[in-house]
């Protein structure tokens, strides 16, 4: 029986299934509102299985009912932004889609991973409409921003990405907060290996990474990075690895902020978020978080 559901099989959904298959993380069911799309992509992937050595099945489903038995569900339904558009512009359009999915997943026993943009707002919306516990609804904010930060650091330092941990917290927007003090090369703080000018350049690149890809490719937003991030979160949950990844979730008093979703490092396991880790932040950094939280609350309330 499948333990992973993917809802919405556009670029992000389909590539998440692809990465999950490539790493043999678990069996996947895929659902899409467009009839036949999930079935077609699933069949295409399974026909690659003999060559790629997949040990699990991937199949398309026609009804959201079949999602109920899975232990993790990736929500990648919705539209993506066009060049020049901000993530928040998608809120109203995608909220409707998220509402429908959330309603049908009330009482879901697993963990939901939200990939739909604007992700922090979608996490808030999904949690509200589904009634699931905050520890069971996580979004790809910081985990994607961190992987981009890791890549940029690796390239600038000439050191393999595998050696590099990077932490990005806060809102998934240009207000994201790359934390230099919590970013390290095999344990060594990045600031001891890189001067401030280079660090500033890398941080700037991380902040604008999503926009840059939209600008470059014009007709689509990024999906390899987001799909890899989604597959990583899925793996941590279904394999109960206790991996520490910064994901977006609805806060409950962290840094004095409540009822708003942003990213912080969390320990992920079979029950979703098992622990939240709070980095030591400066007053200025806390102010940025508060500003982000206020903006998110106000967009959310006015929608």
């Amino acid at each position: 029986m499948a333990n992973i559901a993917i809802i919405g099989v556009g670029n992000v959904g389909a590539n998440t299934a692809f990465f999950i298959a490539e790493k043999n993380i678990g069996s996947v069911v895929m659902y899409d509102i467009q009839d036949g799309l999930a079935q077609g992509k699933a069949l295409d992937m399974m026909e690659a299985a003999p060559i790629r050595g997949y040990q699990h099945s991937i199949s398309g489903i026609n009804s959201m009912d079949d999602v109920a038995d899975t232990s993790v569900a990736v929500v990648a339904a919705g539209t993506v932004r066009e060049p020049g558009a901000k993530r928040d512009d998608l809120f109203t359009r995608n909220a409707e889609i998220i509402d429908g999915i959330a309603e049908s997943m009330k009482g879901y026993g697993g963990t939901v991973v939200i990939a739909t943009e604007p992700v922090d707002l979608m996490v808030m919306r999904f949690r509200e409409k589904s009634g699931l516990d905050a520890s069971r609804v996580v979004g790809l904010g910081g985990v994607l921003d961190s992987t981009r930060f890791r890549y940029a650091l690796s390239r600038e330092l000439g050191i393999t990405t595998e050696n590099i941990t990077a932490t990005v917290v806060g809102r998934h927007s240009d207000q994201m907060m790359p934390l230099v003090d919590y970013s390290r090369v095999n344990g060594v703080p990045v600031s001891t290996l890189m001067d401030d000018v280079h660090l500033a350049k890398v941080i700037d690149e991380t902040r604008n990474a999503g926009d840059l890809i939209v600008e470059m490719s014009q007709r689509s937003s990024s999906f390899y990075g987001p799909s890899a991030a989604a597959a990583d979160v899925v793996q941590a949950i279904v394999w109960d690895t206790k991996r520490i990844l910064p994901v977006s979730f609805v806060w409950d008093g962290q840094y004095g902020i409540k009822d708003v979703a942003m990213s912080l490092p969390t320990v992920l396991g079979f029950t979703g978020i098992e622990r939240v880790l709070e980095p030591n932040l400066s007053q200025d950094q806390v102010q940025v978080l508060k500003k982000s939280a206020d903006e998110l609350s106000s967009i959310y309330a006015n929608a």
Binding site: E162, R184, N186, G187, V188, A236, P279, N280
Partner: protein, 312 residues
Amino acid sequence: MNKVSVIGAGNVGATAVYYIAEKNIADIVMVDVVPGMPQGKAADFMHAAPSRNYNIKIVGSNDYAEIADSDVIVMTAGMARKPGMDRMDLLKTNVNIAKQAAQAIATYAPNALVIAVSNPLDVISMVTLKESGFALKRVVGMAGILDSTRFRYFIAERLNVLPQDVMAMVLGGHGDTMVPLPRYTSVAGFPLTELLDSDTIEQLVDRTRKGGAEIVSYLKKGSAYYAPAASVAKMVEAMIKDEKRFVAASAYLRGEYGHRDIFLGVPVLLGRNGVEKIYELDLTEQEQNALDGSAEAVQEGVKTLESIYTPG
């Protein structure tokens, strides 16, 4: 296809071959003095090839000539440590083995990179360097990566997090005087010191220092080989794939950290050219003193070495 030769087909050597084969990193030659033993293990590996999807060849030999044109050579030959035995006790036996191997490497594989693994590691690295006449950056000792992987595991176990999320730096000689650096150790980017109190850290540091001995005390008749072999395979892969991997390894110092003409565990960049860079981290006075103490212990081993053989 790249070629890796593993000298010494005992537990560490054979397990390193296993990890290298499982990732299809390179063709492998296993050399050992025991007649038939490397041939037998190589054949056994190849019988597993169809089930394990090996695309590489593994051959065994008693003849050093078989290592010809290797890209990387892993030197594991030597006696393993017995319970109650200090690493230095191994010196005399293992120096002679290393000497022969290094001469063979210089003859048959003059362009190879060499990873020294036999203990006492920092001293054996020196013998290998001197006997091979290789450039300094082409000889490196496997130590820091093993000491770090143990420290990482102990921390992960204590915090109930994934071991891969823990990164650690252990410098100094590969012995009881090694220098784990909690300040340069992190859990998903968090400084270790934010997650554990200093007493707990000190316990884990102490366990790391005695990590090799802990395994010996369980096994009684042998020493660790899974973690050492995993560390070897990581270094081989970094070199073959030119990964530019930042790890602690025993490298020849020429003034870095205030030491010269000595192999000592320091942070290095590993790639296709061997030790491509040595990083000098800022150390506190206490950390520097610990490193100096460790260097002294290694230096004593080198002195003993000089009394028992003349390089040539």
